[in-house]
């Protein structure tokens, strides 16, 4: 259980509040107009943006001041999710050990993750040579070996075409299920929400609202959400 206890984020003139919990195993979409603070919220949860107030709790443990790597999250950003000059398996291996001294068990884990995302044939290719879809798969393979209870996605598939994006979302859904992880992802597309999300966090006007069941919310949107969805 991830608890956002009266979070307050301040950046320049921008302000965002959040006060809710994420139940384990749920897949939650974060939606809202651009500039509302979706990415900032995720970055704050992962420890990249300092909080002005409030606490973040994981299983009742305070992780508000923990460095990013010591939090229970694996995060994918909008871009720069791979080191382009390293090979695919090096990129995945970095999810296990920063010095890349992988023992047999680690190497097996890397191989298995690459197999799971269908990149076994590309394990020695430099990340820069991969297509956009393959890069997303490689990044997901690293999320797999990181084996964190929370998977946080900040629109990493935004640059992909619709078919490819759906592929990735299905893959994410399957991986989340397999790992019994909790998923929190930013998206712009109501289709994505319908496809993958159990719950929705709507961010607007300086507030991240508590999660609500996705279908119910999309079928019967309140006024602000309706304005956003158009």
């Amino acid at each position: 259980m991830l608890t956002l206890d009266k979070l307050l984020i301040h950046q320049g003139g921008f302000q965002l509040r959040a006060d809710f919990q994420l139940a384990p195993g749920r897949k939650t979409a974060v939606i809202g107009p651009s500039g509302a603070g979706k990415s900032t919220l995720l970055a704050a949860l992962c420890g990249f943006v300092p909080l002005q107030g409030g606490r973040i709790l994981w299983q009742d443990q305070d992780i508000t001041d923990a460095p990013p790597a010591q939090r229970p999250m694996a995060m994918l950003f909008q871009d720069n999710n791979l080191f382009p000059h390293l090979s695919v398996s090096q990129n995945v291996g970095l999810g296990l050990r920063g010095d890349l001294r992988l023992d047999a068990k680690d190497q097996a884990a890397v191989a298995q993750a690459l197999h799971r995302v269908g990149l076994t044939d590309h394990r020695d290719a430099r990340a820069a040579t991969l297509s956009g879809g393959q890069q997303s798969r490689a990044a997901l393979a690293r999320v797999l070996v990181q084996h964190r209870p929370l998977i946080i996605l900040d629109e990493p598939f935004a640059a992909l075409g619709p078919a490819m994006r759906y592929d990735m979302l299905d893959l994410v859904a399957a991986l989340t299920q397999e790992q019994r992880a909790t998923l929190l992802m930013v998206t712009h597309a109501p289709d994505d929400v319908r496809r993958i999300a159990d719950d929705v966090v709507f961010v607007a006007d300086g507030l991240a609202q508590p999660p609500q069941p996705a279908t119910q919310l999309l079928n019967n949107p309140p006024q602000a959400l309706q304005a956003y969805l158009g």
Partner: protein, 517 residues
Amino acid sequence: MAERAVEISKRSGIAAAGFVAAVILAALLAVLARAEGAGLGPADWAALRFTVVQAAWSSALSVGCAIFLARALARRRFWGRRAMITLLGAPFILPVIVAVLGLLAVFGRAGWLNDLLGLVGRAPLSVYGLHGVVLAHVFFNLPLATRLFLQGWQAIPAERFRLAAQLDLPAPVVAKVLERPMLRQVAPGALALIFVICLTSFAVALTLGGGPRATTLELAIYQAFRFDFDLSRAALLSVLQITVAGAAAALALWIVPPLAFGTGKQDPGPRWDARGGVMLFQDSAVIALALAFLALPLTAVALPGLAGLMDLPVSVWRAALSSLGVAALSIAVMLGLALPMAGWIATRRTGLAEAVGLLGLAASPLMIGTGWFILINPWVNPMSVALPVTALVNALSALPFALRILIPAFQDALSNFGRLSAALGLGSLAIWRWVIVPRCRGAIGFAAGLTGALSVGDLGVIALFADPGRATLPLLMYRLMGAYQMQAAAGAALVLIILALGVFWICDRWGQANADA
């Protein structure tokens, strides 16, 4: 964004900056302690005046001419333009003594220019004194200023020139609305940078200046030290030198533009203005004159050099080996200092540590040399450590440039991959290994190449320390020139050019390898 930054080399960066400051301050304290005595005589004030006057002339002429050359290069497309812009980078790594030899061959007493003047029955010109020093400084700094201005021109968005073309604005209006605002931004920094460089220039003054009317402070330190062995006067002059250069450098720190030494990857778009005949003639003349000014001296060294190459004295090869050793050591020291410093500065918002690097530019090599001579003299024979001291001082002189090359590259790598590294919990060693070195190889190789080339060609502190048996190649060349062995000097010059460019090329190549990611 108020974001938590990764820390990659805070402790070692502070240690390196502290080391640099300590080396310079220890030298300064040593000279301060020795700078007793009668105060400054009229000759010393003359040296101060000459130092400032020549630096002012040099920077004004370099920048003034560079504006016209850069404008011509920015708005003309011709065959060999890229090559010429690359050539503009060469004087920066060209050994000063080689360039002086070339300038003498063209403008000297028995040079090509005086041959021409003799043909039309004019009296020969002398290249020694103020105009010789300024000429050599312009030779070195005109290309540097030109490249700074070219960057400025390239920074003007192409759309603005398209808009100007669509509105059919005449050249004077284009100059007023597009070019002059850029020049006003770049020119003060270029002036300041070149002024500081010329303040501490030694080898040019040593070879083309001298005498009561053309002695710089740097040269006066050398003469007090070497000829009169008057340590306290050398120390006094050193204090004067660092006061002047330090004040100028502190001033320059605020206005010196970022240095990009690359060739400029993208070719600028076409230009539609300044198509008139007068403008075209003017630009062509400027480019041709600049090309002659820069290329003729080099040719004048290379041609007799090839002949001299056949029978070089053995001492040349021994000196060449020493120079290579000094350069290698100097690259190692520079990297040992600049990498942690750049790593530290790149994660901070203010450029405090960059100021330490700039201190290396202000603190004259001869001041540091004099100071350390005083410090180590009681313990070891300074002659025996001439080469390591030279390497250290060379590394310090290259440090400001190295930092200006490295820091933007580091900042770029960290802004792209800092979050990912933090998310993966990479330690600072892993960040160096997986992020910084591979991403910034080009910048690191370039900084190393620049340091190596400057060090191979440096004629400065080595002149203070060296005994007859121990010389670097530039010093040996200076001695050969002093003995009027011009053929051998030209041969040595050619070897020196090849070494300087070779060291630069090897390091730069290392940086370019695998740089396609």
